[in-house]
Every structure is written in structure tokens, then in C-alpha cells.
């Protein structure tokens, strides 16, 4: 079969980085083709070249037998290419419906009714209750992502590119998304699918291409390969597929919440031991992030008590929380986690900058050392630590955010979706790091929508539903169905 | 009772401004007018004047309007001052608002005389009387007008006289002079045209530099610093207003100034205020180079303004056209104004 899209010898250079290096690949019509690679391997760069969001330094693109030296967003859309980018590209001040229909024209004037119907129809397929008229502003990342996906699939496209579409979603929506992909595939639409979640790739992809450092490694048929092979092609070494376990056990309680109300959550109580990894599960909108923000002092509690090592503490601000040794790795790296315009080094040192200062003056050497120490612990892929964070790949930005929180020497760390958009190798590193932290006696709360990871890493799981504690599971009770049962229970 | 308080208040307001002998004279006039005023004041009580000022950030204008307000208050007349802050459009609206609120008399000192003509006509149609001060607006019940071109010309004359006296033997065209202008409004424009007549009046001078948009002390200092780079021989500066002249004076008299011999340097300007009077007084021993200014209006401009307004309000006979006298103030007569 003639390929629908062929990339020939594509090179893309950034200052000091070869994001793509003489890269060639073919996509067959109607296939689901997964791209796999470590953070910074060049996956997003590749799809941006296809969509015309960026211009390649060299090489050519052959799409439906026509050769282009570069695409533009307009040309690619006019030719039936739709893209869901890794980062949101939504117009916050417009409604979901308008975002979904952005760039389409029905008739001379804007037809809000029609747009709302299109949106509502797609939301129905997702089995999710989003008001098409609601502004995107204020939506949770999951809802935004659903709008983003709806935007792409509402168009009549021939090639659909999805860059980590599942990252902000929970199991429920991911299932719906797969159903939709199934339907699209039946219509003969070609799909390029990027994900760091290996199971997804095996579930839906026909072929998978592994890339490393901007170069092509290999294209394989999914059914003829396995997880271990792909991982070793990707990272150049074997990785164990088991979740690491903390080696030490502590009995002392480090944190206790009693009847916490606020921020949409109500009456939440639980305790956390030293060295424990406590999982927080829930569906979209369950209020996990909200709880994390209350504990961290980012939002004010209405009522309730927080005890640190048995003593009641009052957390009125984030600096109080940091003072008490509580750290938060926020879920939205771009808007909450890092300072894109500043250097990696600057970012990593930031949370702890007062401790790196004497009478107000920053000790440059200490910050550099800290940046190096934690940056290397996270193996951030970059030519230098003075590079601005905005130039890093998505996954590497996430690593900067984690490094930044680690550098603040916390006793309790809340990880909100810590592995979102992170490659398998790095995930493993983060897991190991969490265990190492737990061994030092640090209490960890882990919020994750990746069920497998949550079950694998947690020692205990608390399930939230609609802002209330719906259940608590001990290790021996762990199962996906048990979690989901509580998560979909109401109150 | 009302007449009493009028006589008690008026001189008090004047003491800071009017020279001593003028005060006596004015007081005499006041007593003469008092009988009429006695009955007038009763009729005046409760009347309203809307005073449209072009820009009260100019100290002269603010002093003028506040003085008129004080005079009127003594008769129980309310004066509302509206500051157009330099905007011709704002001023139109202000005239309309005064007319809408039934103001008896609107005094207009126009930002842009030709721009308020229609608004004045509408106000008159709505039943307000309109008295204009400053530039000719074309429509009015009475006008006290300032001939800005004449103002500039008289400034030029003072400059020329100083040149003749200081450099009697100078060759034609040998005395370098500079003009600090502001042509941002038509009124200002014609004053500057007047300033430029100095070359016609005095053949000794050549204008070597003209700098525009100079109205403030600091702008004038910076302009002088630059000017003296290229033309260090400049002897005379004509400045659009006294604010600029104060800057030139500061520049010329400060330590390390490029003006080496203060006796051979002068600045003249228009618009009277306290600071300028003080500076002119000091020019005798050359500790100031601000040697003269043009004052417009009589010695009692607020009094004249209010008296005319009063006549209009009381429906007495009055002159429709009242040209403002222009006066040169130099070291010779400055004592009269201190």
C-alpha cells in the first residue's frame, strides 16, 4: 500500500540541540502508528513538523503524493490533518463548543446552535457531562483535554495525530477515547499516537516506531514485539517491570487530617505515616487536587484540623507549608510548576532560595550545586543548566518541577500526577526516588490517574468521590475494580 | 451688611497681588462703586458663574480663577471653576454642562477660541450669558481679549531694548539669540509669531536656535544645555512663558554654567507669577538673568473680570469689547508688583 505520509531526511535544529536528525518514516493509510521514545527524543517535534507548527531545518514531507518542504497549520488542516498537541491549545475565554469548532465555517454567520450540538454529540460519546456553552477557563485539565480531543475529531480528517492524549485523563475517559479511536479506525482514518503508557500502545497500535535522540531506531509490528524489547530499544538498557518497594518501615504518624472542609471538599480525614506512600484515587473532579492545595496552603480551608507529628499546625499560606516541610508537585507544570522564561538552574533552586541565601544575598555556588545534584538525580536532558525551561521537552519540564520540590528538603511531599508525560525510564527513576525518599522517612501522598502505577506504588489508597472520602483500601484489598467501585460511588 | 463684607474681603484678597498705591486707588474706586454694589449685592446673591479655564495647572490661571471666586463669594455669587486641562473638547462639554444646569453667566477662557464658538451660541440660546476672556471666540455677550501676537511682539521689544542697551556697538546680526517656543495651541502659536518679530525690530540680532514645545522649567534647562553646545555665544532668550524663563534663569545662574558673564545674558517671557517677579527683582545685580515679562490684564485682572461679570449679571450697561492692557515688567517697575 502507498504510504499516506512519508517524512524524508527531516532534520530540526534548536540552539545546541538536534531535535530531529535525518529522520525518515512512513505511515500507511488506516493504521494506528505509535511513536515511542524517551522524553526529548523528538516525538513532539516530529508531529509539529507534520502539522506545520514548526519549519524543519532540512528534509521533505510527502503527503498524499505531494511533496512539501514545509507545512503550515492551514495547509495541513486543509488537507485533512488534525493534531492534538501535547500542551493545550485552547482559547480560554470562549466556550467549549466554540473551541471545538474553531476554524470551521458553517454558513455566513456564526451558528452557535450548530456548534453546541456538535460539541454535545461528541461529549455524549465520552459519556461526560460538560456544558457546551461553558467557558474553557476554569475547566479541569481532564475536561480541557476532552475539549481538545473533541476539537480534532469533530473535523473530517484523514490523518489524526495525538500527542499524549491520555496524560490528563483518568481510566474512565481513556476507555471512552479508545472506543472513539476504534470507530475512527473503522472509517479508515490514519492515526499517529504518542504515549508513554506502554499498555495503551499494545492495546491500540498496529505498528510502533521507536526513536532516540532525534534519530529513527526501528519500526515494529506491535504484535511481534513486547514491552521489554521496546524499552530496551528506547532507553538502550533493560528496565525491570516491577514497581520498586520502600525498604524501611516506620510506625510514627507524620500527618493527620481531621474533618477538612473547603475548596469543594468536605469532611475529609486520614493520616499518613512516615515513610509511607499513600495513594489518592478518584475520577476527574473528585477533588484530589483541591485537597492537595488545602494541605499545601495554596487555598484556604473552611474548617478542619491538620496535625504534623501529633502537633496541630495552622497552614495559612504556601510558605507556611514549606516552613513545616510540606512540598507539592503541582499537576499543571506549565501554569503552576515552572518558570518557563527562566533557566533550569534558576527553577530548581527557586523553592529553597531563601535557604541558599545569607542576609538576603543568594549564594550562587550553592544554587548551582543544588541544581546539579537534583537535576542529575532526575536526569534532565539538556545541553546545559542555563538553558531556559521553555526549550525543554514536556517530560523534561516535569522533571524540573520535581527537582525543584526535592531541592526544598520536604518531610511530606504531595505528588500530583508526577509521571504525567514522563517516559518509562524516567518513570522508573521517579518511582525509585519516591521509595528512596520514603526510606528517609518522608511521607508521600501520590495522586495519580494512572491506575496501574497507583496500585503498584501505593501502600494504602484513599479514594475520593465528589469531594468526599469514599473509601480506604489496604494493600491486600487493592484492585482496579475495588478502586473504581468507590470512585463512582456518590458520597 | 453685604456691602460691608464686600469691602472687607476685597482688599484682603488684593494685598498679596496689588501694589500698595494701587491698593489705595482701588479702595477708593471700590467705595465709589459701593453704593451701587450695595443694592447690586443683594440682587447678586444666589447667582451662579461657571468659569471655564483652559488649564489651571498654569499657576497664573489658577491664581486668576481663585481670585475671582473669592471676590464673587463676598457677594454671595457662586463661581464653579471648570478646568479643561488643555482639552478643547472637554471645554465644549463643560460649557454645555454649565448651560444645562442653568448657570447665569459662563466665563470662557478658551483652549481653542474657534472651537467653542458653536457651544457658546448654544449656551446663549439656552439662556446663559457668556463672557469671554482671552482669545476671540466669535460669539459672546462681552469679551476681555488678549492679543497674543501683541504679547509676543512686546516681549520682542523688551529683548531688543536690552540688546541695544547692553551691546550699543554690536554689528548687525552679531548678537545670537534663541527662542523657546510652544505652538501647541493656536493662542500659543500667535504669541510665538509675535516673539519672532524681534529680528524686524532689532537688526543686531540673529535667531540661531528655535526650540519648540518648551513650557516647563526642566524642558527649558535641557534645551539651553543643548543650545549652548552649538551656540555658546547666545546672549538673549525669549521664552514662551515664565515657567520656561525660570528654567533658563536657573541654567544661567547655577554653578558651572556655560554663561560666564551674567550681565551679558537675558531672558524675557510672558505671564506673571510670584516666582517671576522675584526673579526680575534680582536681575538688578545680575544674580538673576530673568529681566522682564509681559503681564496681561490690568493691575487688577481678577477685579476687572469680576466687575464686568457683575455688570452683565445685573443687566447694567457694559462695554462689549474690552482689550486687556499689556504691561512690560522689568527691573525698572518691578517694585510696583512685588
Amino acid at each position: 500500500m502507498e504510504p499516506i505520509l512519508t517524512l524524508k531526511n527531516i532534520t530540526k535544529l534548536y540552539p545546541g540541540v538536534r531535535a530531529l536528525d535525518d529522520f525518515s518514516i512512513e505511515f500507511k493509510p488506516g493504521e494506528i502508528h505509535a511513536l515511542l521514545g524517551e522524553n526529548g527524543a523528538g516525538k513532539s517535534t516530529l508531529i509539529k513538523v507534520i502539522s506545520g507548527a514548526i519549519e524543519p531545518t532540512a528534509g521533505e514531507i510527502v503527503y498524499k503524493n505531494k511533496t512539501y518542504s514545509r507545512m503550515t497549520p492551514k495547509i495541513s488542516r486543509d488537507n485533512g490533518i488534525e493534531v492534538i498537541y501535547q500542551e493545550f491549545n485552547l482559547v480560554d475565554t470562549l466556550s467549549a463548543a466554540e473551541n471545538i469548532c474553531m476554524g470551521d465555517r458553517f454558513g455566513r454567520f456564526v451558528d452557535f446552535k450548530k456548534m453546541e450540538k456538535i460539541a454535545a454529540d461528541i461529549f455524549k460519546q465520552f459519556k461526560i457531562d460538560i456544558n457546551p456553552k461553558a467557558l474553557v477557563e476554569g475547566m479541569t485539565p481532564a475536561h480541557k483535554q476532552i475539549v481538545e480531543i473533541s476539537k480534532a475529531i469533530s473535523k473530517k480528517c484523514e490523518l489524526l495525530i495525538m500527542d499524549e492524549p491520555s496524560a490528563p485523563l483518568t481510566v474512565k475517559e481513556v476507555e471512552c477515547m479508545f472506543d472513539i479511536i476504534e470507530v475512527l479506525k473503522k472509517k479508515g482514518i490514519t492515526i499517529i499516537y504518542i504515549s508513554h503508557r506502554m499498555d495503551e500502545i499494545f492495546r491500540i497500535a498496529d505498528r510502533v516506531t521507536v526513536m532516540r535522540d532525534g534519530t529513527f531506531v526501528k519500526t515494529l509490528l506491535t504484535k511481534e514485539t513486547n514491552r521489554d524489547e521496546l524499552i530496551s530499544l528506547m532507553v538502550g538498557r533493560e528496565l525491570s517491570s516491577d514497581y520498586p518497594k520502600p525498604k524501611k518501615h516506620y510506625d510514627e504518624e507524620i500527618l493527620r487530617l481531621e474533618h477538612i472542609y473547603g475548596n469543594g471538599d468536605s469532611n475529609i480525614s486520614f493520616s499518613l505515616r512516615k515513610g509511607e506512600i499513600l495513594g489518592l484515587a478518584g475520577l476527574v473532579g473528585a477533588g484530589r487536587t483541591e485537597l492537595a492545595r488545602l494541605i499545601y496552603g495554596a487555598d484556604r480551608m473552611d474548617s478542619g484540623k491538620i496535625y504534623l507529628e501529633g502537633k496541630e499546625i495552622k497552614i495559612k499560606s504556601t510558605s507556611d507549608a514549606i516552613h513545616y516541610g510540606i512540598g507539592l508537585i503541582p499537576e499543571d507544570r506549565k501554569n503552576q510548576g515552572c518558570f518557563l522564561e527562566q533557566s533550569i538552574e534558576w527553577n530548581i533552586a527557586f523553592n529553597n532560595i531563601r535557604r541558599f541565601s545569607k542576609s538576603g544575598i543568594v549564594n550562587q555556588k550553592q544554587t548551582e550545586e543544588a541544581a546539579k545534584k537534583y537535576g542529575e538525580a532526575m536526569s534532565i536532558k539538556t545541553p546545559s543548566y542555563v538553558q531556559d525551561v521553555k526549550n525543554l521537552s514536556g517530560g523534561n519540564q516535569q522533571k524540573v518541577v520535581i527537582a525543584k520540590t526535592l531541592a526544598a528538603n520536604s518531610r511530606i511531599i504531595i505528588f500530583d500526577e508526577p509521571t504525567r508525560g514522563i517516559d518509562v525510564g524516567a518513570k522508573q527513576e521517579i518511582y525509585e526516588l519516591m521509595c528512596a525518599l520514603a526510606d528517609e522517612g518522608i511521607g508521600i501522598i501520590m495522586i495519580s490517574s494512572d491506575m496501574e502505577e497507583l496500585l503498584g506504588m501505593s501502600q494504602r489508597i484513599i479514594v475520593l468521590a465528589e469531594g468526599k472520602k469514599a473509601g480506604e483500601l489496604e494493600k491486600e484489598e487493592f484492585s482496579q475494580t475495588a478502586v473504581l467501585k468507590y470512585a463512582s460511588s456518590c458520597g | 451688611g453685604c456691602g460691608q463684607s464686600a469691602t472687607a474681603e476685597v482688599p484682603a484678597a488684593e494685598t498679596t497681588q496689588a501694589p500698595a498705591q494701587e491698593e489705595a486707588q482701588a479702595a477708593a474706586e471700590e467705595t465709589a462703586a459701593d453704593a451701587a454694589a450695595e443694592s447690586g449685592a443683594v440682587a447678586l446673591a444666589g447667582m451662579t458663574i461657571g468659569y471655564c479655564m483652559p488649564d489651571t495647572s498654569e499657576s497664573f490661571l489658577s491664581w486668576l480663577s481663585n481670585s475671582v471666586k473669592d471676590l464673587a463669594a463676598a457677594d454671595g455669587v457662586t463661581v464653579d471653576i471648570a478646568d479643561a486641562a488643555g482639552s478643547a473638547t472637554t471645554q465644549i462639554s463643560q460649557i454645555e454642562n454649565f448651560a444645562a444646569s442653568g448657570t447665569d453667566l459662563i466665563i470662557v477662557m478658551a483652549v481653542e477660541p474657534t472651537g467653542v464658538t458653536d457651544a457658546i451660541e448654544r449656551a446663549q440660546a439656552a439662556g446663559s450669558m457668556v463672557m469671554v476672556a482671552g482669545g476671540d471666540t466669535g460669539a459672546y455677550d462681552a469679551i476681555m481679549f488678549t492679543d497674543q501676537y501683541e504679547d509676543g511682539t512686546m516681549m520682542a521689544e523688551m529683548g531688543a531694548a536690552w540688546v541695544e542697551a547692553t551691546f550699543p556697538d554690536a554689528e548687525p546680526g552679531s548678537i545670537e539669540i534663541a527662542l523657546l517656543e510652544d505652538r501647541s495651541t493656536p493662542e500659543a502659536n500667535s504669541r510665538c509669531d509675535g516673539m519672532n518679530t524681534i529680528t524686524d525690530i532689532c537688526d543686531k540680532v540673529t535667531i540661531v536656535q528655535t526650540v519648540g514645545s518648551i513650557k516647563t522649567n526642566d524642558a527649558a534647562q535641557a534645551a539651553m544645555e543643548n543650545i549652548m553646545q552649538t551656540n555658546p555665544e547666545i546672549k538673549l532668550v525669549l521664552s514662551y512663558n515664565s515657567g520656561g524663563a525660570m528654567g533658563v534663569n536657573e541654567f544661567a545662574t547655577r554653578a558651572g554654567s556655560p554663561v560666564k558673564d551674567a550681565s551679558q545674558f537675558a531672558v524675557f517671557a510672558s505671564d506673571l507669577d510670584e516666582a517671576s517677579i522675584a526673579a526680575i527683582a534680582q536681575s538688578g545685580d545680575n544674580s538673576s538673568v530673568f529681566r522682564g515679562l509681559i503681564k496681561f490684564g490690568s493691575d487688577d485682572l481678577p477685579g476687572d473680570t469680576y466687575n464686568l461679570a457683575k455688570k452683565i449679571l445685573l443687566n447694567e450697561t457694559y462695554e462689549v469689547e474690552n482689550p486687556d492692557p499689556l504691561t512690560k515688567i522689568t527691573i525698572d517697575n518691578v517694585a510696583d508688583y512685588q
Binding site: N89, E98, G264 | G86, E112, T114, D118, T185, P186
Partner: protein, 323 residues
Amino acid sequence: MKEKVIKILKKYTIILVLIGLILFFSIINPVFFSLTNFTNIFVQQSYVIIAAIGLAFVMISGGMDLSVGYQMSLVGVITAVSMMWLNLPVLFSVLIGLAMGVLLGIINGVAAVKLKVHPLIITLGTMTIFQGTSYIISNSNPIFGLPDSFKFLGQGYVGPIPFSVIAMVIVAFFASFVLNKTYFGRYVYALGSNEEAAHLAGVNTKKIKICVFMICGFFVALSAIILVGRAGSATSATGVGTEFTCMTAAVLGGISFKGGSGKVWGVITGVLILGVLSSGMQIIGLGTYPQYIAKGIVLLAAVGFDNYQKNTKIKKTEKAVEA
């Protein structure tokens, strides 16, 4: 039900501020509450409203235009020069003025697109260029004695309604229609809120940027013509400073500096608040300087109140969800 009323009140807080001010001034001085006075305010503000709506297009698209005042100056001078010095017919001169406005807008837009610099900076530059040009053309002289047929645009009445108010109403409806019902209008919002997203959705963002400046230039020119008609003469100082009033009004009316949001009725309300304030303060006889202080306080109070309302809204809806 009650919730719905609250919601509507919240959305239109700024109108409440306007009504509050009108009541306040009317109580202090009943003269304020008269048809003549309201007509005055409308006439006085109609040109500001037209210019502010023009600026609103730019601001909603995420830009800014500081050159509005000197665009007005230049358009006014050119229109008047065409009539009085070049003796062109009135209609033709008006068309020249409008075309000039469009041209100045295009200059701003093209400069913003080509130089890839924030429009605020671009227009900081073009502003002084327009200023210089206007003064050079007029040579600082007023151009007066404009024909009555021209003055009609600023002073005339159609039946009982001032022409300038009619023009303002038409502009408001037109702008509202364009912003809400056309694709172009929606793209203006999209551009202001997320330029990259709009670009990736295939919107020609450069074209839209130039267009909003063009529209702004056109409305500003119309505003300048009405203003000159009202004054009966033009000078290079005509209209200068209007950008500040427009900007303040736009902000009062809920147009964010970041772009992406704002409504025409909001802009109109914003201008009227400023108009009522300055007219009212004059009518109640507040001194010039206390007026400045009062104006600043009202501005702060209005935006603060509006914001407070919006913030409490969120909390209340949260509670509604809980209940």
C-alpha cells in the same frame, strides 16, 4: 430563581454603578436629572464611545492602541484641510478623513505584524509620528469656519435625535454584530485569548491583527470627524488624550488588558460612567481638584466592586454545587 437574579446582577454590576452614580447626582442636584442633561451627556460622549468601540476591537484581540488620540488629531486636520484649504467638497473630504483613519490603522497593524513587537510599543512609536505629521500639516494653526453641512455631523439633529447619537448607536450595533455573530469577530476573541491556538486552528492571525487596527482606525476617524463637526474647527490638539479616556472606559466596561474578553455594551457603560461622573461633578459644583480625586476613587471602587462581585460568584456557585 434567586440565584439567577444574582447571576444577572453580577454580570451587569457595572450598569449598577452607572445607575448608582446617576441617582447620586440627581439627589444632590435635581437639575442633573433632566432630558437636556442626559442628551448633553450622550452627545458629549458619542464620539468617545465610537472611538472606544474601535479601541475595543484592538484590546479584545489582545493589542493596545495608544495612538488613538493623534490619529484623531491627524484625521481631523486632514479632513479640515481638504475642505478649507484644498476646497474639496464636504462629502469627499469626509471620505478622505475616513480613508486616512483606515490607512493609519493599517500602518499600526502592519508594523505590529512585521516588527513582531507588542502593539502597545508600536503605537507608542506611531503616536509621535502621527503627532509630528499632524502639526506639520496644520502648522499649529486652527482651521475654522467649517461648512454647516459638515458641522451637521457633530451638531445636527435628525428629528429630535442628535446625529452623533444616531451614528454612535449604529456603530454600537454594527460592532456588536461583528464581534458576536461573524467568524471574524470570534477570531478576534480567539486571537486575544490564545494567539497560538488560533494560529494552529488555521486562523490567519496576521490578517486579523491588521484588520482590527484597520477597524479601530476607521471608527477613530469617524469619531474625529464628529468631534471636529461638534467643535466647528480643527487643530492638531483635537482629540489628543482620547486614548486615555477610551482605555479607562474599556477597562471599566470589562475589557481585559490581556485580551480575549469584553462586550460592546460594557464599553458604552464605561464611557457613560466617566461622562456622568464629569458632568455630575461639575453640576454639583465640586472643585476641579477634588473632582480628580473623586474620579480616581470612583474608578478604583468600580473595578474593585466589579471584581469582588465576580469572585464571590465563584464561591457561591461552588456552594450551590455542594448543596
